[in-house]
């Protein structure tokens, strides 16, 4: 069983969580000014690194809060978790 450390509730079973994709994807300041290509980049294109990846997770069955986590995509190790609004911590993979 993989344990994910919720920043509020502490380590909990992975089944309690919901995955939310890449973190720190900022909403465009002026969406109507974007070209179709730029909009498609914002909506559909995501990083796909082999290594540490900042992601959004939601503790669905617990406190129901969204938070960010840095996960190593090669090992599924969670290297760091941090609350929404906090900067991404430095991690050593």
């Amino acid at each position: 069983m993989q344990l994910i450390p919720c920043p509020w509730c502490g380590p909990r079973e992975e089944a309690e969580f919901h995955y939310g994709g890449q973190a720190h994807v900022a909403y465009p300041e002026d969406p109507s000014a974007l070209t179709d290509e730029e909009w498609a980049q914002y909506v559909f294109f995501r990083e796909n690194p082999s290594g540490p990846f900042a992601e959004r997770w939601s503790h669905n069955a617990g406190c129901r809060r969204w938070f960010n986590a840095v996960r190593d995509t090669r090992t599924h190790d969670l290297l760091a978790v941090y609350r929404v609004g906090e900067p991404m911590p430095e991690v050593i993979a």
């Binding site: 509730c9 309690e16 069955a61 406190c63 129901r64 809060r65």
Partner: protein
């Protein structure tokens, strides 16, 4: 009079003794409070006579003008106030008054969940059959309150003491949970 969610399970839950004293406490007043302002949280605690929990995954309890009241931590800005049946309208008014114009909400969610009180020396062992939270007394002492999954059902689990646990479960899942409890107890009943 409406039947409680587990009215039909009363005898089957009672039959779990001596492994588990399991009984439903139906129709308790429950209010979901969303507020993040510390002063408003303190004011609502004073109005209730029971201070709100300040630490995550804990609950507070006490006796005030509404009798025995518990306040459960559900999230960083979310609490559940639990009291005896038929007090929800009065408590809602009092809490809304204490909240004043501060951003927040007080919602009556009494019909959402029913309560099952479990007591017995094997209570933590039985729950461990379907709950991934560490229930060892060192990790989950009295006063612990976690939202988690028990046999895939979302529950609020309150630890009242070494041998006593309160489970709040959605009314529509209550019968499934009661059936699961009966099954989880069967191996202990066989040797009791």
């Amino acid at each position: 009079m409406t039947a409680s969610p587990l009215a039909a399970w009363r005898d089957r839950l009672a039959a779990l003794a001596p492994v588990l004293d399991a009984a439903e406490q139906p129709f308790r007043s429950q209010l979901t409070v969303r507020v993040s302002d510390p002063d408003a949280i303190a004011a609502m605690g004073s109005a209730l006579g029971v201070q709100f929990p300040s630490a995550a995954c804990t609950f507070t309890s006490g006796s005030g003008r509404f009798g025995d009241v518990e306040v459960l931590w559900l999230g960083p800005d979310e609490f559940l106030v639990v009291a005896a049946p038929d007090l929800q309208i009065t408590i809602e008014e009092v809490l809304r008054g204490a909240l004043g114009t501060v951003r927040g909400s007080v919602v009556d969610t009494s019909a959402q969940r029913t309560t099952v009180v479990l007591e017995g020396p094997k209570v933590r062992d039985v729950l461990a059959h379907g709950c991934s939270v560490d229930l060892h007394p060192a990790s989950a002492p009295g006063g612990t309150c976690v939202q988690t999954l028990l046999a895939r059902t979302g529950i609020i689990l309150q630890v009242n003491g070494d041998d006593r646990v309160t489970v709040l479960v959605r009314s529509s899942f209550a019968e499934y949970l009661a059936a699961w409890l009966c099954d989880a107890c069967s191996e202990y009943l066989a040797v009791a």
